[in-house]
Symmetry: C2
Subunit: 551 residues, 2 copies
């Protein structure tokens, strides 16, 4: 059985330039890779299992390098060991924030293409569109058991639920960790959300006490295409802290069940990692929120590894560990800091989009690899599909940014099929990367002033923009950008789905039910709020004109 | 024979606080360490050899961590291997620039104490005072063969020459690498030094054409307390590039001779590493100056290791590799950049004073150690003296900042005898460190405004100064500073030696000779230039009032 695709994936324009140069070599590589995958399949009777663990806001270098952890007062020995026994990616690019990054890796497409380029907060009336095809759906199509546990953060509209995107089972949080401060205890610490009016005297000037959101959930659980149930009891913070342990328990149980049943599986465990309200018992010298979360994740990684080895399936299981974007250096808690790269979450600087990432697959991925190649999170979509023999289920009516990186995984350093990246912040193309060079598009005035070109080997922090020595790249970057944008005329970006939130919950509480419904008397207002919600603008909190030269 | 000191070294005040707490434990450790050192001495017949390699401007993390080098387009496999087989120091502090750092490690004293706190440029009429006692002198006193090769940079006055500071033999550059651009070729590239007036039309307004410096040297060579000879032929840049290879050749020859002669040796090879005029043949993907120098040094480190192993003395030789200060991020060449710490050369931020540093001593230093302890470059002075059985030759009439770190070397992580550092920039105490906390003194207004406290675990880049949560450290830092400064009343800082440069050179060229002499007719001026030179102010290019709150 060939693992190669019979239909034709539509790639981004730049990929075709590389394929024209290297296509023959890649085809020969692919034959050899197919043979290795086929041999493995014969041995285990199934295509490889895939475990994808993705957590928040962790810079390149924050985990996996013991030397740097020594300077930071914490250690993650299990993650570091796994990194040392597999691939340590030095150049894994993601989108610069949570929702976009999760949408991108799930769909194999830059978030701008699905309209999921904003960080979704509660009550934003949107989510992943039903037309988007996720990794869950693709692998489900070829018989994989699929499960999602943890931070989904792709919207609270019913069509965006993980259970409606190809997962056999799911326990998922529709939001980020912000609801963890929607508690009376956090209110006492100064959160001032106003979500618990019973705690405060009434504001005598408040004309619209129904304006504040009240109905929200910690997490939802359910099975494929069924109704969902609320899990946990907001605002009970103790319950919030149980989400990760519960997801870990279910992840291991799911693995055990399918391993014993001889069914290939794909499980995404995307931990909350931390509640903004913190942990009561500190486990690090660092004492900081992110590091406290990382050491807890680390313990689980040790358990996961033990489980895979005990079940005898480690050599048929690809484990990918990674962060979703850079650290929250802007307005974030102590300990969320830059490592070697400038910037963090939300930035187009390397620090925003270059993250900690590792791959482990004993027997297939050689140990001890420190890989300098470029890889993008969307590549995981295409690569997982290839490994699962599911490339024929990747949709061909849209651009798939992910390229097949099976050769990089199995052949190692220098075998990447990507040397470019387009970095979006919200809907704005902020920077373009080609090899060692990077051009930042925003902040540039018409003409020459402010044009910023960087050499990432020699100016990794992007603080010494070069004009003269890097001008040879100017025309090349312009052409790349034009190709990328013109290709969009044929395959345009889409919009996210808009709807009232939190529909379809079996055990909905009254306030959750209220959130899913119109809260005013339609007879008394001259417009239809449902219409307004469906026509929210593409972007909400982004000033697309912030680059001085943007039109 | 006890390795412990019979006389009483005068430490900085803070050390006595630690000693009062830990003295008994340390004494017990010392007995055990003495026994191990004595056993080694019996085996080899001599105290251990010491090889100290110190080069320029290299941040913590730039070498020794392959993951970071992958992101930078170069690799130093020999240095990395040595680091992995010995101690990787995560917290080696130095002074923030070349001359101060070199003075500090040579004397075991913060540069401010010897007056050597400025970066010496050619024609600054100063150098290390004859009263300062160097590591060369201390180890020479107990029978070590001593040699210095490379960048000395401790002045061009005769009393500052390496040959007048305890080294049996030396090939040393009195200056930094700046003279490498004192060439006609560099002039053509735009250096505009004006040092080659024959290249330019005369300036019709120039009244004092003797003002520009002309006489300078690449390097001097000689033997202990003898005259010196100029080595190489400025402005021949090819000759400049031969300094490091010649120093490497002599280092290995010196090691061979003494190993075969059964004499313990101490050799300091402090490479130029790079000429500002660059190398013709590039060897790195990075293409940048520092990285090109590092890969050349790396090749030598491989040769050095081979030599020590071939001679059978590796297990009786401590090798310390380190940088002298942080990268030249201000006005430096491409590739001299921050890694994880903020700032670089000349800064009191961690990036200025926390450097790449490793120790290797097979059989005595356990392999694979990533050590988080604090150590200061001055500690090497005291530690080398302890290892050489030369503590009784450390002067006791002045403060020695270096503490004995033999226990850290031989027992490993957490065995440091230092948890504090006083960071000077020029003559200004700019910051004080205690454990994870750091207080910056400059930039603070009288009263509260601007007081900056940092938690280095959670804010390694020192960009989030904390007031409220770190105020408990305020009083403690004030007391530390007071102790440190009051102790100086008993043991005051000294001044550097002042004199005309480049005296005592056997083969002095006419322009070199001119530099060492008064160049005007004394009868025609109303003052004595010699007197003026001897009374140069303590600081030349430092504005001591730059901290807003400095008096």
């Amino acid at each position: 059985m060939s693992m190669k695709q019979k239909n034709e994936i539509v790639h981004d324009a730049e990929y075709y330039i590389l394929e024209a140069r290297h296509g023959e070599v890649w085809a020969a590589e692919d034959d050899e890779l197919d043979a290795r995958l086929e041999a493995l399949r014969k041995k285990y009777g199934t295509p490889p299992n895939i475990v994808h663990i993705m957590w928040d806001d962790t810079a390149f270098g924050e985990v996996g390098i013991p030397h740097l952890q020594k300077t930071r007062g914490f250690e993650t020995p299990n993650i570091n060991r796994l990194a040392a026994e597999g691939i340590f990616f030095c150049r894994m690019y993601t989108e610069p924030s949570c929702t976009p990054s999760r949408a991108a890796v799930m769909t194999g497409r830059h978030a701008v293409r699905s309209g999921m380029y904003n960080v979704a907060f509660p009550y934003e009336y949107g989510g992943l569109d039903a037309e988007e095809v996720t990794m869950g759906t693709v692998l489900s199509s070829v018989g994989y058991a699929t499960a999602f546990y943890g931070k989904w953060h792709l919207g609270d509209t019913e069509e965006s639920y993980a259970t409606n995107h190809g997962f056999d089972e799911a326990l998922f949080t529709p939001y980020n960790q912000v609801p963890s401060i929607y508690t009376p205890a956090a209110e006492n610490m100064g959160a001032i959300t106003g979500m618990f009016p019973e705690m405060f005297p009434a504001d005598p000037y408040d004309l619209d006490r129904g304006w504040e959101p009240r109905g929200y959930v910690w997490a939802l659980e359910g099975r494929k295409e069924g109704t969902v149930r609320e899990w946990g009891h907001p605002p009970d913070h103790e319950d919030y802290l149980k989400i990760d342990p519960e997801c870990e328990r279910r992840t291991l149980a799911f693995i055990r069940t399918n391993a014993k049943g001889g069914k290939p599986f794909y499980v995404a465990y995307w931990p909350q990692l931390a509640s903004f309200a913190g942990f009561k018992e500190k486990q690090t010298v660092s004492r900081a929120l992110l590091q406290e979360g990382l050491v807890r994740l680390d313990r689980f990684i040790g358990e996961l590894r033990d489980e895979l080895e005990t079940l005898g399936i480690a050599e048929n299981t690809l484990v990918v560990l990674m962060a979703d974007n850079g650290p929250m250096v802007h307005n974030g808690p102590p300990g969320m800091v830059e490592t070697i790269y400038r910037g963090g979450k939300s930035d187009y600087w390397e620090g925003g989009v270059r993250v900690a990432a590792f791959a482990w697959w004993p027997g297939m991925i050689a140990p001890g690899q420190i890989v300098g190649d470029m890889i993008h999170e969307t590549d995981l979509f295409t690569t997982f599909a290839r490994l699962g023999g599911a490339l024929d289920h990747v949709p061909t009516d849209r651009i798939i940014d992910g390229v097949d990186q099976t050769s990089l995984l199995l052949n190692g350093d220098t075998f990447s099929r990507r040397d470019y990246n387009f970095i979006y912040t919200g809907p704005v193309l902020a920077a373009t990367v080609k090899g060692r060079f990077k051009r930042v598009w925003v902040g540039e005035s018409p003409g020459l002033t402010g044009a910023a070109f960087y050499d990432l080997y020699n100016d990794p922090r992007e603080v010494q923009p070069k004009m003269l020595p890097l001008f040879p790249t100017k025309g090349m970057f312009n052409i790349m950008k034009a190709r990328h944008e013109i290709w969009k005329q044929k395959y345009p970006d889409r919009k996210p789905a808009r709807d009232f939130p939190l529909k379809g919950i079996e055990n909905a509480r009254p306030e959750t039910l209220a959130a899913s419904q119109i809260r005013v008397d339609l007879e008394k207002i001259p417009f239809d709020p449902r219409e307004f919600i469906r026509n929210l603008p593409d972007w909400e909190n982004i000033d697309v004109g912030w680059g001085a030269g943007e039109k």
